[in-house]
Structures are given as C-alpha cells and as structure tokens.
C-alpha cells in the first residue's frame, strides 16, 4: 500500500502547519511498511474538503486499564541547603507523587554524594518518583549551539544515571537558535538528518546507560507529530529513544475539534514508546490559527479518553500537569483531573 498524498491533504497540512512535510514524504520502500497516512481518517470520504469537524455520534471506548498514574509537578531543585524531606512531604501533601526538574537549574550545581544519598532516601520515604530531567534543548540549532546542547543533554543523562531517574526528556528543537521560533526548514530532510545524527551521537556518548532519552514533540519544532516520533526511534535505531507525550503540543486547527480521535490515534501509534506525559489543555478562540492554553479538562482535549488511554499503558506513567501560572491553578487542574479520572475509573496515586 502506498502512502498517498492528495492535493487536499497536502493543502490542509500546509495551511494548518500541523503535519511535518518530512514525515509525509516517505521513501517508497519504507512507505510499504506503513499502512496509514499521516492524518486522521476522512469523515465524509475523500471528495469532501477540509475534514476538521468530528464525525457525528462518535463512540468513545472509556474502558480503563490497570496502570495507575502519578501526577507530577515541577518543584524539584538542586539548590544548596534544600530540605528534601520537607520538599517531598509538601509535594505529597499537595497531591503530587512524582516530579521532574529543569536541567539548567539542576546541573548548575554538582551534587555531593551525600546529597544524592539524602535525596534518594527522602524520595523513598515519601514515595515520590523523581523520574526525569527536562532539557529544553535545541540539538539541531546552528553550530556551535547544537554541539553545546548535545553536550548538555549528555551531562543530563549522566546526572539522571547518578540519581536513578528513568529518563531525560528533551526536544530536537529548531534550525533557528531559539527553538521556539519555527524555521521554514524545520521539516526538511536536512532538519531530519540533523535530528537523527544528533540523537545517534548522544546515544553513542552515553552508551551503557539505561536512562531513556525521551523526545517531546512541539508544533514549531522539527519533531511535531506522532508519526515522526515513531520514525525517529526507527531511524536512530537505539531502544533508549522514547517519546514524551504532550498532545497539545501537536495540535493544529485540523484536529482541534477531533481530539478524541487524535488522542486515540496518538496512543495507538506510540503505545509503550510513551515514557512520560505532559497534561495541558487548549482552546481555539480566535480568527488566526493560534491556539490558547486553557485550564485542564475545560478545553478541547478529551480528558476522559486521555486518562483512560494512559491507564492502559503497560507501565505506570508520570503525568506532569502544566502550563499554568499560579499554584492555585495547579490545584484547580488537579481537582479537575482527579474528578475526571474518578468518573472513568482511571487510578491516580
């Protein structure tokens, strides 16, 4: 089966800027191994125009799985003098049972062996899972920044090893120095090759480590869709390459109102390649294609399907609640998510 790209699909992709051209132009030999196009299925057949509205009476399978999930918050730090017992107790008291940390702060101070022991002791005592170091990296930036970022990520892998973290999470970035600025060539073959080569180098320089290298998609970056995430793991060829799942980072207008289907599609494609999850929500509330962040479980995301699919993953997963502004909003998001989880029978530790 060939990977057909109709003019309609190509136009929709171009307008919405959602699907990476790199992942759509698949080499024929590889395309034969792939049975699906890089888009949601048509709702009204191929003769219709944009298929941005959801099918009527869409049935949702809300059967939960058995994997519990942990809600995570960014409160971790390597700051000298931190009382880790108090920090993790506060997390637990507030309902957070996992945490990740930003790499810039974390790596800014070399921890003593006694610090590492104390952190591990307190994590265990309070049953908090410190699973990952988040590197806001740009490993395909113009040189020499790409080199600096790759070294930074390699340092983060070694630190994660030392701490017993499951993973580091990062991004491939943009071909501009600022990874948040989309470069016109981010979805070119060159960007793809730079992404693959950068990750191969990171894997090689951290060979022997069990720390997973999870790549988070972002709309404006070279990796911005689930098909690219699958392909990236294949092309790098290292089992430690995993996926971060941040569905809202992959949303474009063409799927903004088809989130139940898109959520299912993403989980079907990535399955247990998913190493961690970020939970946000969004609305499309303007004339331009700019989407805006909203309170979790009040926007376009289908949180029932989202939480159910997380609970069906084979290994328990940490879910970082973000992109909110105040601590009060984090508490509100947590209440919404726990209420939805309770309704559908997904277990939150």
């Amino acid at each position: 089966m060939t990977n057909k790209i109709s003019r309609r699909n190509l136009l929709a992709g171009a307008v919405s800027a959602g699907l990476a051209a790199g992942s759509m132009t698949v080499a024929p030999a590889q395309a034969q191994q792939r049975s699906t196009e890089t888009k949601l299925p048509d709702v009204w057949g191929q003769d219709f125009l944009y298929q941005w509205s959801p099918p009527a009476n869409l049935k949702r399978d809300l059967t939960p799985g058995n994997s519990p999930l942990r809600l995570s918050h960014i409160q971790m730090t390597s700051a000298e003098g931190t009382d880790y017992g108090a920090l993790f107790k506060r997390m637990r008291d507030d309902g957070w049972t996992a945490c990740e940390v930003g790499s810039a702060q974390w790596l800014s101070r070399k921890l003593k062996d006694s610090d590492v022991r104390e952190i591990k002791t307190q994590l265990k005592a309070h049953d908090v899972n410190f699973y990952g170091i988040h590197c806001a990296g740009n490993i395909i930036a113009p040189d020499p920044e790409a080199e600096q970022w790759q070294r930074h990520i390699i340092d983060a892998v070694h630190s994660a090893d030392e701490m017993g973290c499951q993973l580091i999470l990062t991004h491939v970035g943009s071909m501009y120095p600022n990874r948040n600025t989309p470069h016109p060539q981010n979805w070119s073959k060159e960007a793809w090759t730079r992404s693959v080569n950068a990750l191969k180098r990171i894997c090689k320089d951290t060979a022997g480590s069990k720390v997973e290298i999870a790549i988070e998609p972002v709309n404006s970056e070279a990796i911005n869709n689930p098909w690219a995430q699958v392909r990236l793991k294949e092309d790098v060829g290292d089992p430690r390459i995993m996926s971060g799942l941040d569905i809202t980072n992959m949303v474009h207008p063409g799927v903004a109102f088809r989130m139940t289907e898109f959520t299912n599609l993403v989980f079907d494609l990535l399955q247990d390649q998913i190493a961690y999850i970020h939970a946000k929500d969004f609305v499309w509330n303007g004339m331009m294609a700019g989407l805006n962040w909203s309170m979790n479980a009040t926007g376009n995301m289908d949180y029932e399907t989202f939480l159910v699919r997380i609970s069906r993953l084979k290994r328990p997963t940490n879910v970082l609640v973000e992109f909110l502004t105040t601590e009060g909003e984090y508490q509100q998001a947590k209440r919404n998510m726990r209420a939805v989880a309770e309704k559908v029978g997904a277990k939150i530790l």
Binding site: A56, G286, M287, M288, W293, A297, T298, D302, Y303, V340
Partner: protein, 179 residues
C-alpha cells in the same frame, strides 16, 4: 386590638407570600442591567494571555456594534403554570417543562449531551444544567444551577447562577429590568 395584631402577623407570614407566589409571572421582555449585573462568565477558561488576533479572547460573540452605546441585551420569556420558554438575546429558543424531570439535549458544540432539570420552587424557578465544561466531550463536569426570582413589584428579574465544577465554584448574578 390583639385579634387585629394576630391577623396582621398571619397575613405577613402566610397571606402575602401566598399572594406573591400566585402572582409570580416571569413573562415579558427583559433588558439586561449591565451596571448591576456581574460580567458574563467567559466561555473559555484561559490560563495565559491570548496570543491570537481577531475575535478571540472573551468568548463572546456579537456585541454592540462599532458606534455609540451598545445595543440592549433583551431576553424574552413566556411563562405559564407548567412551562417556561426563553428566547435568548441571540434568538435561540429553549422551552423548559417545569416538572422537575431531567431531560437531555445536545450541547451547543453538538458533541456532548447536557442534562437539564427545571422546576418551580416557592416563588422561584430553578433550572439546573449539567454538561462537560464547554460542551466538549471528556471534560470535567460543570453544573449550572440558575435560580430565577422576581422583585415584589414584578419589574426586576434576578438570575443567580451557581457554577459548580471540581476545580472551582462561582456565582454570577444577572439583573434584568422589565421593558
């Protein structure tokens, strides 16, 4: 004197409320009092400043036009013993049977269901609507409990809307003056 006093107390406690309940009729054209009312709740719960141009941000459609004072926001109500029919300022018509029995309808998005229950309680009308937030499937549940009450002279309608979601609870009061 004592007998008269007792009668006055009885009238106050029983007679007048009974009279006012019987006289409650919410029918009429009602003009929103924008000064005395709370701002209408936003359709969206944004957590960051909107980055889009155009009509985004407030979630409110339409408006008062580009010049002069905004057009009055008028709601029309037909009320009898068993039903309430409300024509919204945008022209949408919703009929409620005041029997306290729940019924369901599609939300404005066409993607989820709302469960509605309307009844007369004393001198008020209570309408409870439960639906996923924003009418989008899979969201946290939002219950909106509206209590409609009239002033003693029947010229002012107060709609007190209790918005209850897991994350937060809010009360919005809207005042309408009879046209």
């Amino acid at each position: 004197m004592t007998k008269c006093l007792v009668m006055m107390v009885a009238m106050t406690l029983f007679g007048l409320p009974a009279f006012s309940i019987a006289a409650q009729d919410f029918s009429g054209s009602w003009v929103r009092d924008n000064v005395k009312s709370d701002p209408a709740p936003n359709m969206y719960w944004l957590t960051r400043e909107p980055n889009s141009g155009g009509a985004g941000g407030t979630g409110r459609a339409g408006g008062g036009g580009g010049r002069g004072a905004p057009a009055p926001i008028v709601m029309t109500v037909q009320h009898d013993a068993n039903s309430l029919t409300v024509t919204s300022p945008s022209g949408a018509v919703q009929k409620y049977t005041l029997d306290g029995k729940p019924f369901s309808k599609l939300t404005d998005t066409g993607m989820a269901k709302a469960v509605i229950n309307a009844s007369t309680q004393g001198g008020t009308i209570v309408i409870t609507t439960t639906q996923p937030w924003g009418g989008m499937p899979g969201n946290a549940s939002l219950e909106i409990r509206e209590v409609w009450s009239l002033s003693a002279d029947g010229k002012v309608l107060t709609v007190t809307a209790h918005h209850n979601a897991p994350a937060r609870q809010n009360i919005y009061i809207t005042i309408y003056n009879k046209r």
